[in-house]
C-alpha cells in the first residue's frame, strides 16, 4: 500500500521508525525538540522520544557536530540537524578532519556512524548565506557518503539507510521540496546507496539530475518530447557512492548527456559526473557532455537576479535541443 505524503513527513517517519527500532539513535541540533526545526520537519518527535533523545543545543555547530562524532565513536548513532546547509562551513573540521578520517586513521578500529541532515537549494529569497548547495564540498572528502533525495520516497528510504550505515553520511534535502508530495509505501523500505534510479527512459539524450533538479529535468523532458526528442533521466540518489554503471549505460545508449545539479558549476558535482562520462564513455559520445550547475556567483537576494543563477527546465531543454541537433554550445 502506498499513500501520498510530503517530503517533510517522509523524513520525520524515517527518523521515528529508526528511533523506535534502535535505542542508540538520537537527534541533536538547534531547535529540534519542541520547535521541530524552523521547517517543522521534526515536529512530534520530542513528544514520542523525550528530550533525552531529541536534544536541543545552544547555537554551537562545531560543538554539537564534534559531540556527535564522539558519540558515534562510542556506540551511539547520532543524527545531527544542521539548520542550513550554509553552516557546513562552521563544522568543516569536525566533519572532514574528524568524522571522515577516524576510521581510516585508526586502521579500521573506530567507526563513526552518524548522519548529518542538512539542506540546500536557492530561490527562497534568502540571499547568499542561506541558499547554498554545498554537496560538492562534502563529496570531495574521502570517508563521507553523500545522499541527495529527489522526492519524499527517496527522502525516507535513503535516510533509513543512512541511519543504519556505519559511516558518516551527509544528506542534503532541498528546502523548497519539504511540502512536495509523493507516493510512499506504508510498509518499511530502504533505498541502498549507490543505486541510481532511471526516472524516465529515453533514447536521444541522458539527463543526470540530482535532488530538485530531477523535477527540472522532468519538465525539460516533457518539453523535449513535444519536439520529438526522447530524454532519459537518471537520478543518482547518492553522489558518494555514485552509480557510475547506470549513468554510463544510459549514455552509451543515448550518446549525449547533460548533468544538472544545484551546486556551483565550477569544480562541482556536475563537473565530476561529466568528467567520468567523458573518460569512460568517450567513444559513445556524439556531443560534448554539458554541465549545468548554479552560476558561479554568491546567491543574490533580488528575485530578478536569483532566478538567473539556477538551472531551469527551459535552459536544460534549450541545451538538449542544441546538442541533439549537433550544434556547438561553445564556439571553438
Amino acid at each position: 500500500m502506498t499513500r501520498e505524503i510530503t517530503f517533510s513527513k517522509a523524513v520525520n517517519e524515517a527518523i521515528a521508525e529508526e528511533m523506535r527500532r534502535d535505542p542508540t539513535v538520537f537527534l541533536i541540533g538547534e531547535d529540534v525538540a519542541e520547535a521541530g526545526t524552523p521547517f517543522k520537519v521534526l515536529s512530534g518527535l520530542v513528544e514520542e522520544f523525550g528530550t533525552d533523545r531529541v536534544i536541543d543545543t545552544p547555537i554551537s555547530e562545531p560543538g554539537f557536530m564534534g559531540m556527535a562524532v564522539g558519540a558515534a565513536m562510542t556506540e551511539s548513532r547520532p543524527i545531527v540537524d544542521l539548520m542550513f546547509g550554509d553552516f557546513i562551513y562552521l563544522v568543516m573540521d569536525q566533519l572532514c578532519n574528524q568524522a571522515a578520517k577516524t576510521h581510516y586513521m585508526s586502521g579500521g578500529k573506530l567507526k563513526v556512524p552518524l548522519v548529518l541532515r542538512t539542506n540546500m537549494g536557492a530561490t527562497r529569497r534568502s540571499a547568499a548565506q542561506h541558499s547554498q548547495s554545498l554537496q560538492a564540498i562534502v563529496a570531495h572528502i574521502p570517508g563521507l557518503k553523500v545522499a541527495m533525495p529527489s522526492s519524499a520516497y527517496e527522502a525516507k528510504g535513503l535516510l533509513k539507510t543512512a541511519i543504519r550505515d556505519d559511516n558518516p553520511v551527509v544528506i542534503f534535502e532541498d528546502k523548497l521540496m519539504y511540502q512536495d508530495k509523493a507516493l510512499v509505501p506504508e510498509e518499511e523500505y530502504l533505498i541502498p546507496f549507490g543505486q541510481a534510479n532511471v526516472k524516465r527512459e529515453g533514447r536521444d539524450i541522458t539527463l543526470v539530475a540530482t535532488s530538485s533538479m530531477v523535477q527540472v529535468a522532468e519538465e525539460a523532458a516533457d518539453a523535449l518530447a513535444k519536439d520529438g526528442i526522447s530524454a532519459e533521466i537518471i537520478d543518482p540518489r547518492t553522489i558518494v557512492p555514485l552509480d557510475e554503471e547506470t549513468i554510463l549505460n544510459s549514455v552509451r545508449k543515448t550518446s549525449r548527456a547533460i548533468v544538472i545539479d544545484e551546486g556551483h558549476q565550477s569544480y562541482g558535482v556536475t563537473a565530476e559526473i561529466a568528467a567520468r562520462i567523458s573518460e569512460k564513455a568517450f567513444y559513445h559520445l556524439d556531443a560534448p557532455v554539458i554541465r549545468m550547475g548554479a552560476m558561479d556567483v554568491p546567491v543574490p537576494f533580488s528575485p530578478a537576479l536569483e532566478d538567473l543563477t539556477v538551472p531551469t527546465a527551459s535552459g536544460v531543454a534549450d541545451n538538449a535541443r542544441k546538442i541533439c541537433r549537433g550544434e556547438l554550445l561553445h564556439a571553438a
Binding site: 542508540t24 559531540m67 556506540e75 585508526s106 574521502p142 557510475e244
Partner: protein
C-alpha cells in the same frame, strides 16, 4: 611528593613503571628520528609522564580518553604495548592503526583511547560527545579529554564546556599546561586564568602539580568517582613541562626558552626521579629495585624497536582499505579508480 599512602604497593609500582615506560618509549622514538629511521616528525611527551599516568591510573579500560599530537604518553598510560606502538611510529602493518595514523594519531583503541588528534583542540567535541553517549546509553564510563595550554585558545572548547555543564556530562577536561604552545609562552596567548574560564560555566576547576603523580592520581580518582555519580564535568589544569623541543626537530630553543629553565625542571622537578625517591623513602622499593625496573623496561623498549624495524610495511593494497566501514576497497566502491 604528597604522601597519601592510600594505595597498595602494586599501584605504586605500576605508576612508576608506566612513567618509566613512557620515558623509555620517547627516548627510543627520539633515537629513531635522529638516526633517520622514523618517517616524519614526532612530539615528545618526556617530562609530562605524571600527568598521563596519574590520570589514566584512575581510569578503567571502559573509561575513554582523547589524546593529542603529543600523545605517546597517553597511549602508553592507557594500556598500549610497545611493539604495536613502535610499529605504528614506523608505519608498519602491525601498528595500532595499521600504519595509517603514525605518531600523531597513535592509539590503542581497545583500551578506550578514542584517538590522538593532530588538530589542536580537535578532540574536545569528541570527548564531550563520548560523555554524552555514556549518558544516553546509560553507561557509567567517564571520558578524559587531554589537551595543551595552546588548545585553550580554540573556540570549540567553550562551546562544548557549555553543553557539558548544561547536561552534567561525565567528562574531565585535562589541560596539560607545559608552558608553551610551539614556540610561544603560555602567558602570551592566554589572558586571565584558565580555571576561571571553566568556572564561568559553573564547572568546578582544579590546579594540580603535574609533576606529582600521586597528587594527579588522587585528584583524578575523586573526580572520576564524582563523574560517575553525575557530578561532572570537571576541569583540571596540570602544571607541567616538556623536556624536548616542540617536536624532535626543534633543537635550538634559546630564542624562546633558556637552558637554565630546562635544567631546573629536569633536575629538581622530574616526575620519575622524584617518585622514585619517594618510593625509596617510603621503603616501598629499594634503589637497586628501581634500577632493575628501569633496565628491564629499557631492554623491553629496545627489543620492541628491533621488532618494529624488522616488521613488514602494510601491503600496498591497504592504501584504499578502511576509508569506509564495511567496504573493503574504497576505490572499487567509489568508482573513481584511476586509469
Amino acid at each position: 611528593m604528597s604522601d597519601t599512602r592510600t594505595h597498595n604497593t602494586e599501584d605504586y609500582l605500576r605508576m612508576y613503571k608506566q612513567m618509566v615506560r613512557i620515558r623509555a618509549f620517547e627516548d627510543n622514538a627520539n633515537q629513531l628520528y635522529l638516526s633517520a629511521k622514523m618517517p616524519g616528525l614526532t612530539h615528545m611527551y618526556s617530562g609530562q609522564e605524571a600527568v598521563a599516568v596519574g590520570i589514566c591510573e584512575a581510569l578503567t579500560d571502559e573509561d575513554r580518553i582523547t589524546s593529542t599530537h603529543r600523545g605517546h604518553g597517553h597511549c602508553v598510560a592507557k594500556g598500549a604495548e610497545f611493539k604495536a606502538m613502535f610499529c605504528e611510529l614506523l608505519g608498519k602493518a602491525e601498528g595500532y592503526c595499521r600504519g595509517k595514523g603514525g605518531s600523531m594519531h597513535i592509539a590503542d583503541q581497545s583500551h578506550g583511547n578514542l584517538g590522538a588528534n593532530a588538530i589542536v583542540g580537535g578532540s574536545m567535541g569528541i570527548a564531550t560527545g563520548a560523555a554524552l553517549s555514556a549518558k544516553h546509553l546509560g553507561q557509567d564510563f567517564v571520558t578524559v579529554c587531554f589537551f595543551g595550554d595552546g588548545a585553550t585558545a580554540q573556540g570549540l572548547w567553550y562551546e562544548v564546556m557549555n553543553m557539558a555543564a548544561l547536561w552534567k556530562l561525565p567528562v574531565i577536561y585535562a589541560c596539560e599546561n607545559n608552558g608553551y604552545s610551539e614556540y610561544t609562552k603560555t602567558e602570551e596567548i592566554a589572558a586571565g586564568s584558565l580555571t576561571a574560564r571553566a568556572e564561568a560555566f559553573g564547572i568546578e576547576a582544579f590546579e594540580v602539580d603535574g609533576q606529582d603523580v600521586l597528587a594527579v592520581n588522587d585528584l583524578t580518582t575523586q573526580l572520576v568517582e564524582r563523574c560517575r555519580k553525575g557530578e561532572g564535568p570537571f576541569f583540571i589544569e596540570l602544571k607541567t613541562y616538556r623536556y624536548h623541543g616542540h617536536h624532535v626537530g626543534d633543537i635550538n630553543r634559546d630564542y624562546y626558552r633558556s637552558k637554565d629553565e630546562e635544567a631546573e625542571w629536569k633536575t629538581v622537578r622530574d616526575p620519575i626521579t622524584n617518585f622514585g625517591k619517594w618510593l625509596e623513602d617510603e621503603k616501598i622499593l629499594s634503589a637497586d629495585e628501581l634500577v632493575a625496573i628501569n633496565n628491564e623496561i629499557k631492554a623491553e623498549a629496545e627489543a620492541a624497536v628491533e621488532y618494529a624495524l624488522n616488521a613488514p610495511y602494510p601491503d600496498t593494497s591497504e592504501v584504499d582499505m578502511h576509508v569506509f566501514a564495511g567496504v573493503d576497497h574504497a576505490l572499487d566502491y567509489l568508482g573513481g579508480a584511476r586509469g
